[in-house]
């Protein structure tokens, strides 16, 4: 059988895709080290824009936004992972129950609904129940949309764990809770950590929904960057973007490594 590389045009299409995907990132990373104030001409290597991010005129604004992003991501990822774990155990281990298919759809459909629709719907919902938009509404929205992302790796991992382990634990005098905590949870851990990191990243870089439900005065890092860019792109934005990219890559890599390690041992 011929390998995929023998198809005509394979190389050209691959290169094109890679360029379209990664060239902008490479440009941003390179220009974040630009010594010039221009964003188009190279003025030698410098860390001035990284210094500007932490000490410059916009540093207080970005600092507050980064703090908001980070705390919301940590809390939203933790809560959504707990909910997703409970949901996965119910769906995979709960046997047959009425409305199981509907529940499955309810958990997964948010992945397919256009984000703008969710954003508008969430905003209308908060307005209807009279909740003032701000930190809390952003947090609630993030917990909600992170659940399906956390659910996927957890449910996948759980499907690979045989039910006999929990039965053996119950047989050896463990209560339901003990069987879950001492047997199932340690076996499930790689999936849970993976779900947690995924949810964290999804929350950290969400823009559309956050922008709708954040209210005036409250910023997360993505909305702060967007606000700043509206007044023209300055090189400090490239430095911030590069920092965020680094954090994302770090977490995705961690998630991958943990999942792989978990899969190797049965």
């Amino acid at each position: 059988m011929r390998g995929v590389r023998h198809y005509p045009g394979f190389l050209a299409i691959t290169v094109l895709c890679l360029v379209v995907l990664y060239a902008p990132l490479l440009v941003i990373m390179a220009y974040s080290f630009n010594g010039s104030t221009s964003i188009t001409s190279w003025g030698g290597f410098s860390l001035r824009w990284y210094a500007d991010v932490f000490t410059g005129p916009e540093s207080a604004r970005f600092g507050q936004a980064a703090w908001n992003s980070l705390t919301i991501a940590v809390i939203a990822a933790s809560l959504s992972t707990m909910i997703a774990t409970a949901a996965a155990v119910a769906m995979v281990r709960g046997g047959a129950f009425r409305g199981k298919r509907a529940t499955f759809a309810l958990i997964n459909v948010p992945l397919m609904v256009p984000e703008i629709v969710t954003a508008v719907a969430t905003l209308i919902f908060f307005a209807m129940i009279g909740l003032t938009t701000g930190y809390l509404t952003v947090l609630i929205a993030h917990v909600t949309f992170c659940i399906p992302f956390a659910y996927l790796p957890i449910a996948a991992r759980l499907q690979g764990i045989e039910g006999h382990y929990e039965q053996a634990a119950r047989d050896l005098y463990a209560s339901r809770w003990q069987a879950f905590r001492l047997i199932l949870l340690p076996l499930l851990a790689p999936g849970v950590v993976s779900g947690l990191l995924l949810a964290f990243i999804i929350s950290l870089d969400d823009f559309i929904i956050t922008n709708f439900v954040k209210g005036a005065g409250m910023e997360t890092l993505p909305t702060a960057i967007f606000g700043s860019v509206k007044q023209g792109i300055k090189p400090n934005i490239m430095a911030i973007s590069t920092l965020m990219l680094a954090v994302s890559v770090l977490f995705v890599t961690l998630s991958y490594l943990i999942n792989r390690k978990g899969r190797r041992s049965p």
Binding site: E162, H164, Y165, Q167, A168, A169, R170, D171, L172, Y173, A174, S175, R176, Q178, I183, P186, L187, S265, P266
Partner: protein
């Protein structure tokens, strides 16, 4: 002897499918009891009901007189050796064996000591700190045994525990299991589809089929005196013939075989008409002349210790004969016309 377990008219239904049709049986204390049957006969379902993994649709399960049908698995003083062992992969062998004791609240020192003794019993002391994945199949199986025995259950349930092992290991484990049962004095309930396993280890066997218990008895009883066609056919090999009972007098029936040959055999009932007759191949012998039946040899299969002869009775029915291989005797050839002698009492009329 008291009963360890009494199953009373237990029914199990899954939706419209009935897995067990009102099964009743009693298992004595200190007994090695085997549930034997083909897959889908309900034996594993019954075992899982005793363990508490399946609800009882109807009926009662008594453990030393107490109805346990509604109890959660962790409230039942029974432990299970699972078919695929289900050793906890993230725990050391010692922690696996000590798990039940830990859940029962036994202090750390005491449970480590007991788990150590259990590992000694199954000859795995050297492997206490390993993970289950670092052991061979046979070793894992012995860890599973030690783990299930460590909390001193009153009844040990074994769900086809030998089926994943190769033949030599399986045969060695049979002897070890029986020895273990005698040493510990714990009631063993063993589920298997392998009749040889059942016959070699069990004090008593319940033969099951299609959700019914067909017969309960010692290995000798179910082999020598099968109550029906299913048991006769499932346990060992047998010749099953459709016969006509012509007359019964003084406990002896006159039966006519297909093809017209007739013979006399013991009968418990007076019913005439069509019946099944079972004759084990090794209870037949060859004679040059005379005998109870006349037959022609069709094929001879050399089995080493034995010869298996496929013969055809005059008038049509096939009859298998098994004779010991001996250097002195002449080996029959296809086409030989011989007499078959049936051992006293070996032809058995079956109820259905």
């Amino acid at each position: 002897m008291s009963d360890a377990i009494e199953i009373r008219r237990v029914v199990k239904r899954y939706g419209t499918f009935t897995a067990l049709h009102g099964v009743s049986l009693a298992i004595r204390d200190n007994e090695f009891f085997t549930l034997l049957g083909p897959s889908g006969c309900g034996k594993t379902t019954l075992l899982r009901m005793i363990a508490g993994f399946e609800d009882v649709t109807q009926g009662e399960i008594l453990l030393f007189g107490q109805n346990i049908a509604g109890l959660e698995p962790d409230r039942r003083p029974v432990n299970t050796v699972f078919q695929n062992y289900a050793l906890f992969p993230h725990m050391s062998v010692l922690d696996n064996v000590a798990f039940g004791l830990k859940m029962k609240g036994v202090a750390a020192d005491a449970r480590r000591a007991r788990a150590g003794r259990m590992l000694e019993m199954v000859h795995l002391s050297a492997f206490a700190d390993r993970l289950p994945s670092q052991l061979s199949g046979g070793q894992q199986q012995r860890v599973a045994l030690a783990r299930a025995l460590a909390p001193e259950p009153r009844v040990l349930l074994l769900d086809e525990p030998l089926s994943a092992l190769d033949l030599k290991l399986r045969q060695a484990m049979r002897v070890e299991l029986k020895q273990l049962q005698e040493d510990t004095g714990i009631t063993f309930i063993f589920v298997t589809h392998d009749q040889e396993e059942a016959l070699t280890m069990s004090d008593r066997i319940a033969v099951m089929s299609a959700g019914h218990v067909q017969q309960i008895g010692t290995a000798r009883e179910i082999y020598e005196a099968p109550v029906n066609r299913f048991v006769a056919d499932f346990i060992g090999e047998t010749n099953l013939l459709e016969v006509e009972v012509a007359s019964v007098a003084g406990g002896q029936a006159r039966v006519v075989l297909p093809g017209g040959q007739a013979l006399t055999c013991p009968s418990a009932s007076d019913t005439l008409g069509r019946h099944a007759l079972s004759i084990r191949p090794e209870r037949l012998s060859l004679v040059e002349a005379g005998g109870d039946l006349k037959a022609t040899v069709e094929r001879v299969v050399y089995l080493g210790t034995d010869l298996q002869l496929l013969t055809r009775l005059e008038g049509g029915a096939e009859m298998q004969v098994r004779v010991q291989n001996s250097a002195r005797a002449r080996v029959p050839q296809p086409g030989d016309r011989l007499g078959l002698r049936i051992e006293e009492g070996a032809a058995r009329l079956l109820a259905d």
